[in-house]
Amino acid sequence: MTREEIRAAVLDAIVAVVPGTRQSDIKDETPIRDQLDMDSMDFINFVVELDERLAVAVPESDYGRLATVNGCIEYLARTLAGGPPPVGSGPAGS
């Protein structure tokens, strides 16, 4: 899966959780929860959407890696490639 395909899946997952969001308005570097005012229920639903679209069950301990769209792409790309998740974490996600 290419990074562009992963990015598309991430954006689709966000829109599924926060209906009415325009994908073009989502900034890749800004924390997703901050820009869309997502609460903890939204975030866990986002993780569920990623699991359904990409078959990646992100462990709770890695939620922080999903803070931004770029963080999601980085994390998911490595996970789908079978490699270790990237080092470092963003804000807690749950």
Partner: protein, 393 residues
């Protein structure tokens, strides 16, 4: 013969617009069927019927805004032939409703339409004539049709009228919602003698249990901390029935079940308080599913009337990105509101050692007519005790 009336969908509701009949004269209806949609300041609500029978006569037409308690339809045994629907109302004119003052605290938030308070009848409200497309668009854009002058045939509101109103910002639901919340909360603060208590609860055991559960389950089956807090609150309320009650007609009326109204913020501002039913009887996974569905329904504007009328107590939880503590305003005629701040890691003394621990500040806003500080303190201590044994929740 039964009377299907405009229900009270919260202490801050005085009137609603009947936007759609899902059943029609002659149709069989069963208890629990959704038979109509009502538009309120807080969104479109599907309204259930609370008896079996046949919809014999529709009294209020689609588009009419009427006060709480107004007869909407007659439910019969089916012995008689259905009467025709009321004649079409004249074209758009602003419905006449009283200013947004909430019903008396003594007025029940009706568990069933038959128990709904009967408000004094207003002068006849005129229906709003609008195309189906305009109605759907108005719901999507949160535009109040009653404030719009139609430009279509016979003065009917058409899609372009709704779009223009939305562009003007007229009829903005969020502004109406704020006014409704303000009225209800001002009345609560004016009439209910609140007292407040707070305590800090060690979430170490609950957090460890939750992490273990979530590590062993796929995302769709994972739990949020809020679910544990809800369950612990419900179990504690069984020991303090005066906090799971209504104060009506100068007396305490304890509730038979624990239905927790869960404060839910809406995108774009405002809030609703749908009820999670029989919280004390549910397993944690069941509660998680119900909370997830309720939040989804609240935010998509598809709440049912029973979601909004059955709450016996209210819980507000700030989640993981709020403040340390919240001291709420009681939702009348309930007698208590329990608040949970944002869980945070803090220094905590365990066996003489300072260790980092996840803690949460739990607060209680209670009606002093129904309870007192001693009982309130014991109640919060009970929640704290229950959270030390999460496997028992």
């Amino acid at each position: 013969m039964g009377e299907f009336r405009m229900p009270t969908l919260g202490a801050d509701m005085v009137a609603g617009t009947l936007t759609e009949w899902y059943k029609h004269p002659g149709d069989v209806v069963n208890r629990g069927d959704i038979i109509a949609a009502v538009d309120t300041d807080k969104g479109s609500i599907d309204v259930e019927v609370f008896e079996d029978g046949v919809l014999e006569r529709v009294v209020v037409e689609e588009g009419q805004k009427v006060p709480v308690g107004t007869l909407l339809a007659v439910i019969g045994s089916g012995a008689g032939a259905p009467a025709p629907a009321a004649a079409p109302s004249p074209p758009a004119a602003a419905a006449q409703v009283p200013p947004p003052t909430p019903p008396s605290a003594a007025a029940p938030a009706a568990p069933s339409p038959s128990a709904a308070p009967t408000a004094a009848p207003l002068p006849p409200a005129h229906g709003v004539r609008a195309s189906p497309l305009a109605r759907r668009l108005a719901a999507d854009l949160r535009v109040d049709l009653t404030g719009i002058t139609g430009s279509g045939p016979g003065g009917a509101i058409v899609k372009e009228d709704v779009e223009a109103a939305a562009a003007r910002g007229g009829g903005d639901r969020s502004a109406r919602m704020r006014r409704a919340i303000a009225a209800a909360m001002a009345k609560s603060n004016r009439e209910i003698p609140h007292f407040y208590l707070a305590t800090t609860i060690d979430l170490g055991a609950a957090s460890a249990w939750l992490a273990q559960w979530n590590a062993a389950h796929p995302p769709a089956e994972r739990l949020l901390p809020a679910v544990l807090l809800l369950k612990a609150t419900a179990l504690a309320l069984l020991e303090f029935p005066e906090l799971n009650a209504r104060w009506e007609q100068e007396s305490l009326q304890p509730a038979a079940e624990v239905h927790i109204g869960m404060v839910t913020s809406l995108r774009g501002g405002g809030l609703v308080i749908p009820a999670v039913h029989q919280v004390n009887r549910r397993t944690l996974p069941e509660l998680m599913r119900e909370v997830r569905e309720l939040v989804q329904r609240a935010r998509s504007g598809t709440l049912r009337s029973s979601d909004l009328t059955d709450g016996t107590v209210t819980v507000t939880s700030l989640g993981d990105r709020g403040a340390d503590a919240v001291f709420g305003v009681i939702y009348p005629p309930q007698t208590a509101l329990i608040g949970f701040g944002t869980p945070a890691e803090r220094p905590w003394v365990v066996a003489g050692q300072v260790v980092p621990r996840q803690v949460v500040t739990a607060s209680l806003a209670a009606d002093h007519r129904a309870s007192d500080g001693h009982r309130g303190g014991m109640f919060l201590a009970t929640i704290a005790r229950l959270l030390q044994q999460p496997e028992g929740l």
